[in-house]
């Protein structure tokens, strides 16, 4: 019985490997390899889809793998891709600080490549052929500006804000907070909580918001989340406590959840960060580099506020 099971399992694995191998596209199309640090993140899905679509449109085949936010793993993936004969590379870093060795390796290969979404470390910024990324600090600045705008429209003596952040140690999270602090410094906006991280998890954001409502109750005037998922969690806590409409809401992202709340008039505004544009631009810029054209060193994807009136101007996911 056990032998039969082992043989069946081996056959299943063999068939899977052979069929997966059979999917490899033949022909002379150039091959792009992409290591995505955030393969399974909600933002990753539309971005990677946009990369695939644009690559297909321009006649490339593309292989995208999960870098699992692990620089060492991403470096190994690129080394394997170069050995496998890929013609061009796309690098979505997991974190700013870990980018220098990978940037240096990619340059040493002599292959065309671009960096995507996460801004690389300042020490290697000028070594990147082209980087397609939003200015993360600018996204944070927009969150700060929108906080000020909210309190201009809803004057208050206290201006108390609960601010829910992403992951501790993540450069993206830190850069957003740097931007927020830069703008609200010198204003009388009061961030009530001291660094609460929900790790981009709606249920953790919900728990943090519940605890903040327990502690501060109706003293909270505005709740701000660094992404749409955490906003959803915080919203659920606010809804369960009966505070919808009693405090303002603000977040970053183009998730459908965000659009729904903008339409309902419950969300004051969101800050745009468009995965479709980013993914598409990455392949376009890579194509230009392959063809020997000159490209900008940093192609900053547009970021700015989205209000209820603007929702039709954006693509949502």
């Amino acid at each position: 019985m056990k032998k039969a099971c082992a043989i069946v399992l081996m056959l299943v694995l063999l068939v899977s490997v052979v069929s997966a191998g059979g999917q490899k596209e033949a022909g002379g199309a150039k091959k792009i390899f992409m290591s995505s640090a955030y393969y399974t993140a909600p933002y990753g899905a539309p971005l990677q889809e946009a990369v695939r679509e644009k690559a297909k449109e321009l006649g490339y085949t593309v292989q995208i793998v999960d870098g699992e936010q692990n620089a060492d793993k991403q470096l190994s993936q690129f080394k394997a891709a170069v050995a496998d004969g890929y013609d061009a590379l796309i690098y979505w870093p997991g974190d700013q600080a870990s980018t220098p060795p990978i940037v240096e390796y990619l340059n040493s290969t002599g292959k065309p490549w671009v960096a995507l979404n996460t801004v690389v470390d300042a020490s290697v910024l000028d070594q990147v052929p082209c980087m397609i990324a939003s200015d993360e600090v600018e996204i944070g600045r927009w969150l700060g500006r929108l906080m000020i705008q909210y309190f201009e429209k809803n004057p208050s003596a206290t201006k108390n804000v609960v601010y829910i952040e992403g992951s501790p140690g993540s450069s993206y999270t830190e850069n957003l907070t740097i931007g927020v602090n830069e703008v609200i410094k010198g204003t009388d906006i009061n961030i009530m909580n001291d660094r609460q991280f929900a790790e981009y998890d709606p249920s953790r954001a919900m728990a943090i918001m519940e605890d903040m409502l327990t502690k501060y109750g109706d003293k909270i005037e505005l709740a701000v989340a660094q992404d749409g998922g955490m906003f959803q969690g915080a919203y659920s806590a606010i809804e369960a406590a009966g505070y919808v409409g009693k405090l303002g809401l603000l977040c970053q992202g183009q998730d459908l959840i965000v659009r729904d709340k903008l339409v309902a008039g419950e969300l004051f505004a969101s800050v745009a960060q468009d995965p479709f544009t980013e993914g598409s631009l990455a392949v376009e810029m890579l194509d230009k580099i392959i063809r020997g054209e000159k490209v900008e060193n940093w192609f900053a994807t547009p970021t700015g506020p989205i209000f209820k009136a603007d929702i039709d101007n954006y693509r949502w996911f």
Partner: protein, 325 residues
């Protein structure tokens, strides 16, 4: 009360005493902490981890682990929300979510039973299943958050008000009863203590072990559905690392990782301890960095106390034998 008795109480309830101290300090400092509303809040927050931890307790007592529970939490949520959004009856959508959990559990249990696996094999098999199920959860949702188009009704009620607490404590009560008062529960402890002897005693070890994993999968499914109902959305990575929180609840509660004994009641206490600690630290305004340190130390302290207790008990037994002899 003599000195030995006091030491015994501290030995058996050390973690509980530390938490009691935290509750008293927070209660004095923050007037909103010791309110009924906040305590219900804590129970609601720990309900999902607690429900899943009840299933994990059975697995651990039965001499195994189930690392796939986090992925099942994600998968059950995704399946349920997608079905509800597609217009499926809410009861049927919930049943699909639960079915996914049970199916994963049965596959885990069957594979482990086929290879006659102990806890180390269970660790590897369920880890493999965790990766597979996590990927399956990404397919139907294309990796995206899914906002639930949920009206007030059965599904939404599962995560609102007292319902998560009722589900959590209800499940825990039934499972504690089964564990303590039935032959099935006694067999579980026997299998966890010594699988070979249990087999020689005529217990159907394979079927029993499959049932622990099936239950664990079912409860992870229930946890995933309650979680989705609470945030009225699903996230294909919602259950990421949940298994660690769940194992922490079981261990902090005092069920030993070596299997063969433990209790669901203790797991409830473990989940509540972790919940109260997070809540108190949030309310006290302690930053997330420090919170993680405290949480880690709590888990280490729980394991250390368990080992210490075992060593003391062993010493006492040895001492008693020498005395009798």
């Amino acid at each position: 009360m003599n000195r030995t008795r006091v030491i015994d109480i501290i030995r058996s309830n050390g973690i509980l005493l530390v938490i009691l101290l935290l509750i008293i300090v927070t209660g004095i400092t923050e007037r909103n902490f010791l309110t009924v509303g906040n305590l219900l809040n804590v129970l609601r927050q720990v309900a999902v981890v607690g429900i899943v931890a009840c299933g994990m307790t059975y697995c651990i007592i039965g001499g195994a682990f189930d690392l796939s529970v986090g992925s099942v939490v994600s998968l059950a949520g995704v399946i349920t929300i997608l079905n509800i959004n597609a217009g499926t009856n809410e009861y049927v959508a919930v049943a699909y979510g639960l079915l996914a959990g049970v199916a994963t559990g049965v596959i885990n249990g069957t594979l482990i039973s086929l290879i006659n696996g102990r806890s180390s094999e269970a660790f590897i098999v369920t880890y493999g299943m965790q990766v597979v199920v996590a990927s399956i959860a990404l397919f139907p949702s294309n990796g995206l958050f899914i906002a639930g188009r949920v009206s007030d009704g059965f599904f939404k009620s599962l995560g609102q008000g007292f319902m998560p607490i009722v589900i959590f404590l209800g499940i825990a009560t039934i499972m504690q009863f089964v564990l303590m008062k039935t032959k099935y529960g006694r067999h579980m402890c026997f299998i966890g203590s010594n699988m070979d002897v249990a087999k020689m005693s005529g217990i159907n070890v394979k079927l029993n072990r499959i049932s622990y994993f099936a239950l664990s999968g079912l409860l992870a499914g229930i946890g995933g559905i309650v979680l989705c109902s609470r945030v009225t959305s699903s996230n294909p990575t919602a259950g990421l690392n949940y298994e660690m929180d769940v194992i922490a609840a079981v261990v902090v509660g005092g069920t030993p990782m070596s299997g063969g004994k433990g209790s669901v009641y203790r797991t409830v206490v473990g989940a509540v301890i972790i919940g109260i600690m997070s809540n108190a630290l949030n309310i006290l305004g302690i930053t997330a960095y420090h919170q993680q340190i405290v949480k880690g130390l709590l888990i280490i302290a729980a394991v250390a106390m368990d080992i210490l207790n075992k060593q003391i008990s062993l010493r006492e037994m040895t001492h008693a034998k020498v005395y009798v002899g």
